[in-house]
């Protein structure tokens, strides 16, 4: 993991002191709310429905046990004992007090964390594949590149006031597990013409009111030019992106207004004119950052563990959990373990302080002191010896953290919705709970197979509904919460935006509608066909018929 140097420590401490002063000036009346608002947002502090909400950056979703324990302590001491992991791999606290924020930020700084650039029209937390440095299909670890981008973009003087927020994701694996096509810039590490690694660069993807799948601006960018090329993209966006209409200010609108070819032309022209060596990272600095990400020492172990095999044979609950939540690792005898935050009945992505403490302990005991947050709002221990998996499972069960639903229907992405969010039009949490209840039986989810169900409580799409195989969008129709259902979205390779299937449903009708959609899929699917494959083959007609009949 990256460790702060003296500069980083001093920088974050200075920032804490600066914001402490700003909070004091707000409380004393030297700043009014209009003056204070942009300052607090620059520090990740929102005023939401019930209270202040603090968004804490978890760079590319990577935490040490010490950091996770500190987050647990902060939530327990200054909030209500829980937090919400987000699709940006961050953590949100829902009930912090303004007067406590300086203490919270100081406690974060103690463990090399902060809230800088978790809000505002700047480059937000760069997200990554949660199985980085562990996945069998990985070409290269994306985390060092995330860290390089983080350092470069933090308080970047040219890009601190972009037309709108800016999100970047990086995947270094064959399978896209970071939804790169739905980002302002999506980076895929790929092999180049001479066998060397570089980046395939996508631009202009995004969710929100007008969703787009990112388009390829460059099929191969040599790695050494990452910063200069990204800088040129951001410069063109900064110059030409719309500032007159907040709904049309994201880069996706610019890319699609100009067309990808014209946009590329502008970027390439800027890049040609750039003094690249002044922008790109010097080789020794790159090596210094890379050195922090050396994978843990994992001596190969027997690929098959007899005790684990016996447990799987004799304990169906363990076997089911293992099947879905224990993933192959590139070192024999190890696995990546998904700790589901999607127990039926609970808010997707929420974790109590006790749960965070437990996971921190288990990370120390079994996980080489590294835990990841994935964008689907679960926690991941990337490096666990297979022989330790039963003990890990046994420790998770009493804490209700051993739900075996990774990538199944119950593994829903869900934004906070109208229960917390000032922007929301409708609730999403209770809908998620009702759906989870409907599909609680693991054998039902098993029958369905992998299925991504994503839900947002408003058109801003924090719950990624556009990319759900099944997407649910809450809207307000004349004071009543109504839920639009989209089908066929896909966040992975061959990414797609879901299609609205028909008129919306009232809240109480949503679980039945999902049931109907699932039944229609099962009736129509060919052997081994995923939901997405069936949808792409049969189209909307059978789903419309099942949902709306002759209506």
């Amino acid at each position: 993991m990256y460790r702060y140097d003296e500069f980083d420590h001093a920088f974050v401490r200075d920032r804490v002191a600066e914001f402490k002063d700003q909070v004091e000036r707000r409380l004393s009346g030297a700043l009014n709310e209009e003056e204070f608002r942009p300052l607090r947002l620059r520090n990740g502090l929102y005023l939401q429905l019930h209270a202040y909400m603090l968004r804490i950056a978890i760079p590319y979703g990577v935490l040490s046990s010490r950091q996770l324990r500190q987050l647990a302590m902060i939530a327990r001491t200054w909030d209500r004992g829980y937090g919400h992991f987000t699709t940006r791999q961050n953590l949100q606290l829902n009930w912090v007090k303004l007067v406590d924020i300086p203490d919270v930020l100081a406690a974060l700084a103690d463990v090399e964390m902060h809230c800088i650039q978790t809000s505002g029209n700047c480059v937000r937390n760069v997200t990554a594949d949660p199985y980085a440095a562990a996945a069998v299909d990985e070409l290269e670890d994306p985390r060092p590149w995330c860290e390089i981008l983080r350092q470069w973009s933090t308080l970047h003087p040219e890009f601190s006031w972009l037309p709108r927020k800016f999100k970047i994701a990086i995947s270094g694996a064959a399978e896209d597990r970071a939804a790169t096509a739905f980002h302002d810039i999506g980076l895929r590490i790929v092999k180049g013409p001479n066998g060397e690694n570089g980046f395939r660069v996508l631009v202009g993807g995004g969710m929100g009111r007008i969703p787009y799948v990112g388009q390829e601006i460059r099929s191969f960018l040599p790695k050494e030019h990452l910063l200069s090329y990204i800088e040129s993209i951001l410069r063109v966006y900064n110059l030409f992106g719309r500032r007159d209409n907040i709904h049309k200010a994201r880069i996706k609108i610019l890319v699609n207004a100009l067309g990808i070819d014209k946009f590329r032309e502008e970027v390439e022209a800027d890049w040609e004119a750039t003094h690249k060596s002044a922008v790109d990272l010097p080789e020794d600095e790159k090596r210094r950052i890379m050195s922090y990400f050396a994978p843990p020492d994992l001596p190969p172990r027997p690929a098959r563990d007899e005790a684990v095999a016996a447990r799987r044979a004799s304990d169906p609950a363990f076997a089911n959990w293992y099947k879905h939540n224990v993933l192959a690792h590139r070192v024999p005898g190890y696995a990546s373990v998904v700790i589901s935050l999607k127990e039926p009945g609970r808010t997707p992505g929420d974790a109590s302080s006790d749960a965070m403490d437990l996971v921190a302990d288990l990370t120390e005991r079994f996980g080489h002191d590294e835990v990841r947050v994935n964008y689907t709002q679960n926690l991941v221990l990337p490096h666990v010896a297979i022989a330790d998996v039963p003990a890990l499972y046994d420790a998770l069960v009493p804490a209700d953290l051993a739900t075996g639903n990774n990538e199944l229907l119950g593994d829903m992405i869900c934004c906070p919705g109208l229960d917390y969010c000032n922007l929301a039009n409708a609730r999403s949490i209770p809908i998620a709970k009702e759906i989870a209840k409907r599909f609680e039986d693991p054998s039902r989810q098993e029958e369905i197979g992998q299925l991504r169900l994503n839900m947002s409580g408003c058109i801003n799409a924090c719950g990624h509904h556009h990319s759900g195989n099944i997407g649910i969008l809450g809207v307000d129709k004349k004071g009543t919460e109504l839920y639009q259902i989209t089908l066929g979205g896909n966040p992975k390779d061959s990414a797609s935006v879901g299609t609205i299937i028909g008129p919306g449903f009232r809240a109480e009708a949503v679980p039945q509608a999902i049931d109907t959609i699932v039944d229609t899929y099962i009736e129509n699917r060919d052997e081994g066909e995923s939901f997405l494959e069936t949808w792409r083959r049969v189209g909307a007609a059978p789903f419309k018929e099942a949902l709306y009949g002759a209506r």
């Binding site: 709310e33 005023l47 019930h50 209270a51 007090k97």
Partner: protein, 99 residues
Amino acid sequence: MAKPNVITANRLTDGVVVYLAAEGQWTEAIANAQVAEGEEETKALETIAENAVREREVVGVYPMPVALVDGAVDPLSVRERIRAAHRTTLTKDWYDVPL
């Protein structure tokens, strides 16, 4: 006829949802909110609330329409029912604001 209103805001120091009560006090309990009948009474309460913004007691003041059910204040929108409930979503199986 105009609906009755109460004045709501968030408390500056902790952001908690509050309602303007009698004598310029702010209360977390909507049951204790002062109800304005008609435009003139609402305006009078808004003036008190704007002063509380200047005095740094609260932020984000606005009037919200309510119904009076047997004398009790009932928020009309789902959003305001949720705000009035001050509730976390941590507890398993919780949900008593009806769907």
